[in-house]
């Protein structure tokens, strides 16, 4: 398969503008500029592109929600990539930046935004500087600025750095951070397509989502749908890590099975151990029991829930049988407690409580009652938080206790 | 006739020979039971600091409204109790008091306790107001308040607060 997103693996130096232009660079953008904006949105809708940041919300549908009575519009690319086990956006931005920027440009054109932003996590300052250079090159090549390619459309793209907070990957917390306030999620509704950046309609899309857009416009929705499944079309970059021989990013069509990813591409489990659990969505996952049924499940947004998980951002962490899950959840809970923004009570207090409980259980000082209590606290948090961080912090804990009870026998 | 007389006086004679239960108070005093509720005492810790933190929960609990508390602030130079707060004024009107012990139950530090002194007397109503001087215990080692303490040692009002679930 020719890579659609990780094109640098096929073509050297595609992060140089001359190479990119030679490889039909910006053809998608040029085609879009000649289309009606609503047609661009419809094409993306027809292609069924789903958000690659974890929620899987159809991108074209999100674009169509933009409030046309409230101007100006903005597009923000969510490059906060802080989910543990996720490292796909970084590769795109470092190695195939122009396709990403082209995707932003097409999206901005479709929703009528004249300013677009890339919000990068604070630790990506080198990537941000690199993107700044690429944006300048793109402008020099005539694909940004006023009256792009002789059309009436103008666009400028800016980068913006965060400051080390996982919560700023949540779209409304991201917008708050961009506005210079504390990065804490807002009350929703209203959602960003109605009131987003500075209370103006804003599309917030993941880097990978936006990077998929040029292909869709260039080759049409039908061309995109050649890959993947009917409900989950296209390709996805799977960030494979954990107990595997070949961790890394793998771009595969949606619908590929876990088995193929982990054993064929990932090279299987090292040191002759056997696979125990799969965390398909990074630290925010439910832990899936790695039996044959799960391994043969297609990795797409519909099928993974059948085995008790969510595809999420497809940051597949492989857990082998040498890992005791009571240790693993101390790690996830430490992460979530550290990253909780503290705005809402259940996540702020509950994550602290769960962290203490997991530590106690792992250290051996816990009792049966503590395990029960941990599950109770997790259920107590679910459904009551302001945003999904609190919700997802409980997934690993609950599924570990319920599906792997032998690791919690005191 | 004599028999009836003697029969009737049987109880009287028996009583004459029985040991009397009368205690010759005040030369002899009977021990009161451990939970007897007599005059109040304000307790101290072993280091001499007062246990009372001036919270006025005893005053709130008192059904006779007999207790009056004014709180003051501790400094490390002049410290009366652990923590920030102490009772600068603590008065109990012993005539109003009904010796129910609710104040003892309400006290969070175990400062106020009803002890065994029951011969409480005064010659004017004003003397019935017991203040801190009258109620604070003295320790055997003569440690008293106010004290000068090292900063940072007595930051909590209840110094060795244990897990309430352990009680």
């Amino acid at each position: 398969m020719d890579y659609m997103l990780l094109r640098h693996r096929d073509i050297n130096n595609i992060n140089q503008i001359d190479t990119f232009l030679k490889e039909d660079g910006f053809e998608g953008f040029k085609k879009a500029l000649k289309m009606e904006t609503v047609d661009v949105t419809n094409e993306v809708k027809a292609a069924g592109l789903r958000g690659r940041g974890g929620a899987g919300f159809p991108a074209g549908v999100k674009w169509s929600f933009m409030d046309n009575n409230n101007w100006p519009h903005y597009v923000v690319a969510n490059a906060d990539e802080s989910e543990p086990g996720t490292f796909k956006d970084r590769e795109i931005m470092e190695s195939n930046p122009f396709q990403f920027l082209e995707g932003i440009a097409i999206a901005s054109y479709a929703v009528g935004a004249n300013a677009a932003y890339v919000y990068l996590r604070g630790e990506f300052w080198e990537v941000a500087h690199f993107l700044d250079e690429k944006i300048e090159e793109m402008e020099k090549a005539g694909f940004l600025g006023e009256n792009i390619q002789g059309s009436e459309y103008s666009l400028k793209i800016y980068t913006h750095l965060g400051a080390g907070a996982y919560i700023c990957g949540e779209e409304t917390a991201l917008l708050e951070s961009m506005e210079g306030k504390r990065g804490q999620p807002r009350v929703r509704p209203p959602f960003p397509p109605s009131e987003g950046l500075y209370n103006k309609p804003t599309v917030v899309n993941n880097v990978e989502t936006l990077s998929s857009v040029p292909y869709i416009i260039k080759n049409g929705a039908e061309g995109y749908r050649k890959f993947g499944t009917e409900k989950s079309p296209g390709t996805k970059i799977f960030s494979l890590s954990g107990n595997v021989n070949n961790p890394g990013n793998y771009e595969l069509p949606l619908g590929t099975t876990f088995r193929e990813l982990i054993f064929t591409h990932g090279g299987g489990i090292p040191d002759g151990k056997s696979i125990k659990a799969i965390m398909p969505a990074g630290a925010s996952s439910s832990l899936i029991v790695a039996n044959d049924e799960a391994l043969d499940t297609a990795m797409d947004y519909e099928s993974v829930p059948n085995v008790g998980g969510d595809l999420g951002s497809a940051s597949v962490i492989v857990v082998d049988d040498s890992v005791s899950l009571d240790w693993l959840i101390t790690k996830t809970m430490d992460f979530f407690h550290h990253e909780s923004c503290g705005k809402c009570t259940p996540c702020r207090e509950g994550s602290y409580w769960m962290k203490k409980l997991t530590e106690r259980i792992h250290s051996g000082e816990g009792t049966e009652k503590d395990v029960e209590l941990l599950k109770d606290v997790a259920y107590q948090i679910q459904g009551k938080t302001l945003c999904a961080l609190g919700e997802f912090s409980t997934m690993a804990v609950v599924t570990s206790i319920e599906r792997f009870p032998e690791d919690f026998k005191i | 006739m004599l028999v009836e007389l003697l029969r009737g006086l049987k109880t009287t004679f028996k009583m004459m020979l029985d040991k009397p239960v009368t205690i010759q108070y005040p030369e002899q005093k009977r021990e009161v039971r451990p939970r007897y509720r007599g005059k109040h005492e304000l307790k101290r810790y072993d280091n001499g600091l007062e246990k009372c933190i001036g919270c006025a929960l005893c005053a709130a609990a008192c059904p006779a409204d007999a207790i009056f508390v004014e709180a003051g602030e501790n400094t490390d130079e002049v410290r009366f109790s652990p923590g920030d707060r102490y009772a600068s004024t603590y008065e109990i009107n012993l005539l109003r008091c009904i010796y129910c012990g609710y104040c003892e139950d309400a006290c969070p530090t175990g400062a106020i306790e009803l002890e065994h002194e029951y011969d409480i007397n005064f010659s004017s109503r004003l003397d019935a107001i017991a203040d801190k001087d009258k109620m604070l215990v003295s320790l055997a080692n003569d440690l008293s308040t106010p004290q000068e303490t090292k900063p940072g040692t007595f930051t909590r009002s209840i110094p060795d607060m244990e897990n309430p679930a352990d009680y």
């Binding site: 503290g342 994550s351 009551k384 | 919270c55 920030d84 930051t155 897990n163 679930a165």
Partner: protein
């Protein structure tokens, strides 16, 4: 006109204006939804998650827009799959809310358990005990045992001085954000903020000096726990030990409604003293706020004269004698006296044909007796603030101007120096003439126009020439407006007293100034006159002092700068042998052959067409719904003239 929306809460129907939030709608029918971060005067944030309820909305067919009905004809209700925060949800037609279902109650209890996890066991030493929202909700929703490991409780700094006036206890803080939002939303001075994140989130102050706001005390009222407390009242008394008396603040002419909390203390030798000042709700004057000047008023004047040095009989006799003997006795007051005192003095002056002056550095008194309230100005209105730094002179007026601008009013500030109101104004000038010009232009386009001025008669006249709807003088004293209403003549210096026999009533500064120039002074004051007496001896003039009662000891009324007459009640017993000012005047008058009333209520009935009963009417619509320790106003909201 906002439409009324009907919804059902716990099976009961209620109709409220559109835009009302669910907790307010529930309170209207007596249902209390537990809240922490929600406050009716601030935007909801849905942070604490305490107000979780089940919400169901009527189902609509997406294509036809018709309501979907059940078999029995009732509308089909789509229930949310999870609990929602009621504070962030405005009411909608046909909404059904369950606040007491098993699921909702379980959610509320669980949220409370989370709040209590690391909250310290401070109730015995915490000033908030007895008026603490967390305590009340714990009784309603809390468990009896904590499942949290005691040793794992988080600890933090216990006594942080945010400013000289306010202490912060970081362990008690439940991170509800009410204080931060109050400062940024209502006051517009964001001097408080959060620092760190997650379970380390804490409050800090961003200003230097710390917590630099004239309204900082209000955060201690709205804080639901004892995290923010005042230094002045620290460990003062328990709320249930204190009596609450309705009063009016005396620090400036706004006339904020207050409550004086009093207790008989041993420290004071058995005297009943004012322990603290709390706000009393009056939506027309101060809403639920008071400024720090009023809150931290010092009521402990130890060095007061509590009886005339020669005894009352001789003192009254001497006063009457000297006044009768004088050719032109003069009566001069300042605006610190209540209306009853002012009226008796004016009556006496009129009866003996003497001049009655009110000393005021701010002129234009007679011009302000026609117009009225500053009101709830908003869009379409224009406000001119000229010659006065409201933040210092009348802080709550400042707050009302800022809120008027939030609602869309145009604000023009014309002051010689920078003021804190400059940031909110559309036009700021440092010259009065320019200010008046700008105002003229703005007023021509505005519906309601208000001028707040502080200056001499000339300035007042220029302001009046603009014909504003309301002309409000920012006086130096609380009841200067009352003096104008009664017809006192204004003077801004005391030269007219030179060599005369004078009846002076007011603050000790006025008495001292009078003593410097007058021949004989009858001094009626509630303040310390030691200075006065020593001046007397120095200047050789004679004086008799008639100590009167101060406001916390009296029953009386004030007229605010907006011409609102408000009643205050005595909170503490009178000191020593002091008498009410109007009684003193009546006794002197009697000796001079003039009969005056000696009951406050009777005197009041003489000059306004009102009675104390009128002033004591409350407004049930105004009842504070949720939040804060501001006292409910059950003693009356006063009457707007």
């Amino acid at each position: 006109m906002t439409k009324d929306i009907t919804l059902t809460i716990d099976g009961k129907e209620v109709s409220v204006p559109a835009g009302t939030l669910i907790p307010d709608a529930a309170k209207k029918i007596g249902i209390d939804i537990p809240v922490f971060c929600y406050h009716p005067k601030m935007e909801p944030v849905g942070m604490c998650r305490q107000c979780l309820v089940e919400i169901g909305r009527p189902a609509f067919d997406r294509t036809t827009g018709e309501a979907v009905l059940e078999e029995d004809g009732s509308p089909k209700i789509n229930w949310g799959w999870k609990l929602e925060t009621s504070c962030t949800n405005p009411v909608s037609e046909g909404m059904v809310v369950n606040t007491k279902s098993e699921k909702a109650v379980k959610g509320q209890n669980e949220m409370l358990e989370f709040q209590l996890l690391s909250h310290p066991l401070d109730c015995p030493v915490c000033d908030k005990g007895g008026e603490c929202l967390l305590q009340d909700l714990t009784l309603a929703h809390g468990g009896t045992e904590s499942r949290f490991n005691f040793d794992e409780k988080r600890h933090a700094e216990k006594k942080v001085a945010l400013s000289d006036l306010i202490w912060l206890d970081r362990e008690r803080c439940i991170q509800c954000g009410r204080c931060v939002r109050f400062q940024s939303e209502i006051v517009g001075e964001a001097v408080l903020g959060f620092e760190a994140r997650g379970s380390h989130t804490q409050i800090m102050t961003t200003s230097e000096p710390g917590f630099d706001s004239a309204f900082s005390g209000n955060t201690t009222d709205i804080c639901p726990v004892g995290a923010l407390t005042t230094a002045q009242f620290r460990f003062g008394a328990r709320p249930w030990e204190m009596e609450a008396t309705a009063s009016v603040c005396t620090e400036c002419p706004v006339g904020c409604n207050t409550v004086l909390n009093t207790r008989r203390d041993v420290k004071t030798g058995g005297k009943v003293v004012v322990k603290r000042v709390m706000p009393r709700q009056n939506e027309s004057v101060n809403e639920t706020w008071i400024c720090d000047k009023g809150r931290f008023t010092d009521f402990s004047a130890d060095s007061r004269l509590t009886a005339p040095s020669i005894g009352w009989t001789d003192a009254i006799a001497s006063a009457a004698q000297n006044l009768s003997a004088a050719d032109e006795p003069i009566f001069v007051v300042d605006g610190s006296l209540p209306n009853e005192d002012l009226f008796n003095i004016k009556s006496l002056a009129d009866e003996v044909g003497a001049k009655a002056y009110c000393y005021s550095e701010v002129g234009g008194g007679e011009l302000t007796t026609k117009s009225g309230t500053y009101g709830k100005s908003g869009a379409g209105d224009a406000i001119l603030v000229i010659g006065s730094d409201l933040y210092v002179d009348a802080p709550i007026f400042w707050l009302r101007a800022k809120q008027a601008v939030d609602r869309g009013a145009t604000l023009i500030v014309a002051t010689e120096e920078e003021t804190r109101l400059d940031n909110f104004a559309s036009t700021v000038v440092r010259d009065f003439a320019q200010g008046l010009e700008a105002a003229k232009e703005a007023f021509s386009k505005a519906e309601n126009t208000v001028i707040l001025y502080k200056g001499d008669d000339a300035l007042a006249q220029s302001c009046a020439d603009l014909n504003p709807t309301s002309l409000v003088g920012v006086w130096n004293d609380a009841n200067t407006q009352g003096a104008w209403e009664m017809g006192y003549e204004a003077i801004s210096d005391l030269d007219v007293l030179k060599g005369k026999t004078v009846y002076v009533a007011g603050k000790s500064a006025l008495v001292a100034s009078a003593l410097e120039v007058a021949k004989f002074v009858v001094a009626q004051t509630a303040e310390d006159v030691q200075i006065a007496v020593s001046i007397t001896e120095a200047s050789g003039s004679k004086c008799v002092t008639l100590p009167s009662r101060n406001i916390s000891e009296s029953l009386g009324t004030f007229t605010s700068a907006e011409r609102r007459v408000q009643l205050f009640h005595p909170a503490v017993p009178a000191e020593g042998d002091t008498l009410p000012g109007f009684v003193i005047t009546a006794q002197v008058a009697e000796k001079m052959g003039v009969t005056l009333d000696i009951e406050a209520e009777d005197i009041f009935a003489n000059f306004f067409d009102l009675s104390y009963a009128d002033l004591s009417k409350t407004n049930p619509e105004e009842k504070l719904l949720i939040g804060g320790n501001c006292y409910e106003n059950t003693q009356g909201v006063g009457v707007q003239l």
